[in-house]
């Protein structure tokens, strides 16, 4: 079996002017203005939850589903923490991710279904059954059901179901997600997406924010890594 | 060289007295053995003299000085240990040089002293070796050398021969004796082996339970043990001890077996001693060589039963039950006796020892 060739239709945009400007903006905030906490360099979303509910963070980038998490955390708080946590929940507001010079944009999450090749599984593949499952899984109803608590249905027709209305009525701040929908940019559907998103991009950010590299270098370095990755290292 | 004086020396750990009011004087050039069973306080006494452990009471003087509060290094002593205590990472030369280095002697003087000591002890060819490359006997000689180079007032030796095998022990025994003789050194020597003490020492201090039992020349300790403990500890085989009742008849007296009923008449002198007993009982002590064995009943002989017979070559030891006690008797190897044989034992009326039945002390004529 031959190594997979780079896919010519894909171009790496991680070091284009827009991406660099975005990276520069992060550097400005973190390095120049110091308008984000020092720990933002390495904090994960989960690690922000506790400081936030403790009233130590003014703002964080989070999904509307985070609200439910905060309600949950406030419910577990005790003593003096309880009052603070309740106040935090009480005062929680969402805003849209700000608009940049070109447009407002947010990266979509999502999920993938993998159907394993016949030769890799015992018992063979029932292609009809697989297709039926995909149909079911991506139907308006089921995709709405799967995204029930926080997100948007993967199938746009899901918005037209009766449950969507019910969700918007009952789940606080869900409209924020819906409002961001037109600004969404799907991540390229390639097997390497995980590595790009979880390793190369965070490395790029850390390289720039720790000033180990300039914005230019960090972006180019990340782009080169993606190229290399797509080249089938 | 100097004398060592112990006066009312005490070492206690709470209520346990390891050394209890011990006093004795080691004359200049004397070889004194501290001897006793394990736990008797002999090693503690030595460590007190060395200053390795603090005293609880009393005084120790070395030479003219009271050394109670002096560090070991300032007491002008050298010590030889049971397991040689050589520094394993240092060569023989460096081991011997160590105490001199600690005294900051100049290098050439150290080298001279070490070489002299090595010559004296015949270890010159070993100087570059490490201790582990030496035999036990050689190591002990190096340890002696290390003590020797210091030219100390007193040599303290803590069971220096115990780690050697029996044959080497006998040999090193005479070497140490020779060492003492040639240097005219003052030596305090700890041993649990009474034979070592008897053979080597000018005087022996017999200790038991932290108490000094007797301090005298080996010959005197052997001939006149002050109590049953010393009597049974010194001499090999040990002095036989038989508890008996005193039957007093005015100035006369005899001893009666409480179990077997026989009576043993005493000499006038011994009768006076027996009559001095505090509770009407005595312990009769007799060395194996003073006893005579008869195969038939004989006048003045008391009955017994042979327990074991131990031939050693030029002499045969018989162990005989007499009035419930085991009595050692040395015999000519030609005497043929067998275990369980009924025999009669005759005591030497002049060379028997009498101890008080209660205090166990040697009885004096009243």
């Amino acid at each position: 079996m031959k190594p997979p060739k780079p896919r010519p239709t894909e171009t790496v945009e991680l070091n284009n002017d827009g991406a660099k400007a975005a990276l520069q903006a992060s550097v400005d905030m973190y390095v120049r203005d110091k308008s984000v906490p020092v720990s933002a360099l390495t904090n994960t979303q989960n690690e922000n939850q506790n400081p936030f509910i403790a009233g130590q963070l003014a703002m964080m980038i989070a999904h509307p589903a985070e609200y439910a998490k905060m309600v949950d955390l406030a419910g577990k708080a005790t003593g003096a923490d309880k009052a603070v946590a309740d106040a935090v929940v009480e005062n929680m507001r969402y805003g849209l991710i700000p608009e940049g010079p070109a447009r407002r944009a947010v990266v979509f999450g999502g999920s993938n279904i993998h159907i394993i090749k016949d030769e890799y599984v015992d018992g063979g593949l029932d292609e009809q059954a697989a297709k039926a499952l995909i149909c079911f899984w991506t139907s308006p109803e089921w995709s709405t059901k799967l995204a029930r608590t926080g997100s948007n249905p993967g199938n746009l027709r899901g918005f037209k179901t009766e449950w969507m209305k019910e969700r918007l009525d009952s789940i606080k701040f869900l409209d924020v997600t819906t409002s961001m929908l037109p600004s969404g940019i799907p991540f390229p559907v390639i097997p390497e997406a995980t590595e790009i998103m979880n390793i190369i991009v965070p490395d790029m950010l850390q390289n720039a924010l720790t000033e180990k590299m300039t914005v230019e270098e960090a972006a180019d370095d990340a782009a080169a890594k993606v190229e290399e990755l797509l080249g089938g290292l | 060289m100097a004398e060592v004086v112990l006066k009312d020396v005490i070492k206690n750990y709470g209520n346990v007295y390891a050394v209890n009011n011990v006093s004795f004087t080691v004359e200049h050039g004397e070889f004194v053995a501290l001897v006793g069973p394990s736990g008797c306080g002999k090693t503690t006494t030595l460590n007190l003299i060395a200053g390795l452990i603090p005293m609880s009471g009393g005084d120790i003087a070395i030479g003219e000085r009271i050394v109670n509060d002096l560090d070991p290094k300032d007491r002008d002593i050298a010590m030889v240990f049971q397991n040689y205590a050589l520094y394993p990472n240092k060569s023989v030369f460096k081991n011997s040089a160590f105490p001199l280095q600690m005294r900051k002697l100049p290098g050439d003087e150290i080298a001279r002293k070490v070489t002299d000591a090595a010559k004296l002890l015949d270890i010159t060819h070993l100087l570059e070796r490490k201790p582990r490359e030496l035999s036990g006997g050689q190591q002990q000689r190096v340890a002696l050398g290390r003590a020797l180079v210091r030219d100390p007032a007193v040599f303290l030796m803590d069971e220096p021969l115990s780690n050697l095998d029996a044959k080497l022990r006998v040999q090193m025994r005479s070497e140490i004796k020779r060492f003492h003789h040639n240097l005219n050194a003052t030596v305090v020597y700890v041993t649990h082996d009474q034979l070592e003490a008897v053979t080597m020492a000018d005087k022996m201090a017999v200790m038991n339970g932290g108490l000094l039992q007797q301090y005298d020349s080996p010959a005197n300790v052997f001939a006149h043990p002050v109590n049953t403990f010393v009597a049974s500890f010194v001499g090999s085989p040990a002095m036989s001890l038989i508890p008996l009742d005193v039957v007093s008849k005015g100035t006369e007296a005899s001893l009666r077996s409480p179990e077997e009923g026989w009576e043993l008449p005493l000499s006038t002198m011994n009768a006076r001693k027996a009559n001095a007993s505090s509770n009407g009982k005595v312990v009769l002590g007799a060395r194996h060589s003073t006893l005579k064995l008869h195969k038939e009943a004989a006048p003045g002989a008391v009955p017994g039963k042979v327990y074991t017979v131990e031939p050693t070559g030029d002499v045969t030891f018989a162990r005989v039950f007499i009035s419930g006690a085991v009595v050692n008797i040395s015999l000519d190897p030609s005497v043929a006796i067998a275990p369980d044989e009924k025999v009669w034992v005759e005591f030497d009326r002049e060379r028997m020892h009498l101890f008080d039945g209660e205090t166990t002390m040697a009885l004096q004529a009243a």
Partner: protein, 320 residues
């Protein structure tokens, strides 16, 4: 002149060797012994030997993320070339050496100091010993999380204390910073494993012969000189073993750096092991990761060789 008359002859010649027995005969003679070690041997083969073999095999293959493992591509020594020529390899290796060297050094020094301090009799010694053993018995994972929060750049206890005591204006940035992250991790690691060195050396100290110390005392050595001439040489063997074990453990340490920083930020605390883990399980590059692991394996085997030699040198000396 000799004051000693007797001459003792010492047999230092090695004991006569028994006639050579054939290997086969020796195996037969010891067949039950082999039988007893067989189960352990089998387990070893399954859980150690096979993975080692498979790692070495994988190191010659490329395993692209979009292919099944069984479709891996043979690339010869390419993976080794990739690693050795990559820019990160130098950086990670330097980090690994710094990490291992300083962790080992300070853990050993601190452990020795603690062992010597605890060797003396004093009030509360037992309690102190128990307290100092805590880091060693605490789960590394739990300790890492606790330290992560102690160090936290914004909400860490250490930073807060520093500000309150007026030492700094801002909470100290321990981990979100490429220069201080590795030293900060080393501090945690030293804290975690100095008790190991302490235990080893305490055991060693207990075997220092009392008579030797007394001899040195009589010979006029001060406490310091006694330590230098008697205790220290005596501890050399156990020190060697301790240092080697610490080095091996540090080369292989994963939990503390992985949990506290994951090798970051920007690779500043990446060491071989975290790098290998990242390449294998973060980036699914099993071939490269295996090659990396093989390099580490070779280094560890060299260390292991010295370890075994340090351990058996005493045996050889005894056997002489």
């Amino acid at each position: 002149m000799s004051i000693l008359t007797g001459q003792e002859t010492v047999a230092l010649s090695p004991a006569a060797r028994p006639g050579r027995v054939s290997l086969w005969r020796r195996i037969i003679n010891h067949r039950t012994d082999y039988l007893y070690v067989l189960p352990a041997l089998l387990v070893m083969v399954i859980v150690i030997a096979y993975p080692i073999y498979y790692t070495i095999e994988l190191s010659f293959f490329k395993t692209p993320a979009n292919l099944q493992m069984r479709d891996k591509i043979f690339v010869g020594l390419d993976n080794y070339g990739t690693i050795l020529s990559s820019a990160s390899f130098r950086e990670v290796t330097i980090n690994t050496l710094i990490w291992t060297f300083f962790s080992t050094l300070f853990a050993f020094l601190l452990g020795s100091a603690a062992a010597l301090a605890l060797h003396r009799e004093f009030m509360g010694r037992g309690v102190m010993r128990a307290v100092l053993l805590i880091p060693y018995v605490v789960s590394a994972v739990a300790a890492s999380y606790v330290w992560k929060w102690l160090y936290h750049s914004d909400f860490g206890v250490i930073g807060a204390l520093a500000v309150q005591l007026g030492i700094t204006d801002q909470p100290i940035n321990f981990l979100d910073n490429t220069t201080s992250v590795l030293p900060s991790l080393i501090v945690v690691n030293v804290w975690k494993e100095f008790s190991f060195a302490m235990v080893m050396l305490m055991a060693g100290l207990q075997t220092v012969p009392e008579q030797l110390l007394r001899a040195a005392q009589v010979d006029g050595a001060s406490p310091r000189q006694r330590f230098w001439h008697v205790t220290f040489p005596h501890l050399r063997g156990v020190s060697m073993v301790t240092v080697l074990l610490l080095m091996v453990a540090n080369f292989n340490s994963f939990i503390i750096p992985w949990i506290m920083t994951g090798g970051g930020p920007a690779g500043a605390s990446d060491i071989w092991i975290t790098q290998i883990y990242n390449i294998a399980f973060g980036r699914q590059r099993y071939g490269v990761a295996s090659a990396y692991a093989v390099i580490l394996f070779i280094v560890m085997m060299v260390l292991g060789y010295f370890y075994v030699r340090a351990l058996t040198r005493g045996d050889d000396a005894r056997a002489e």
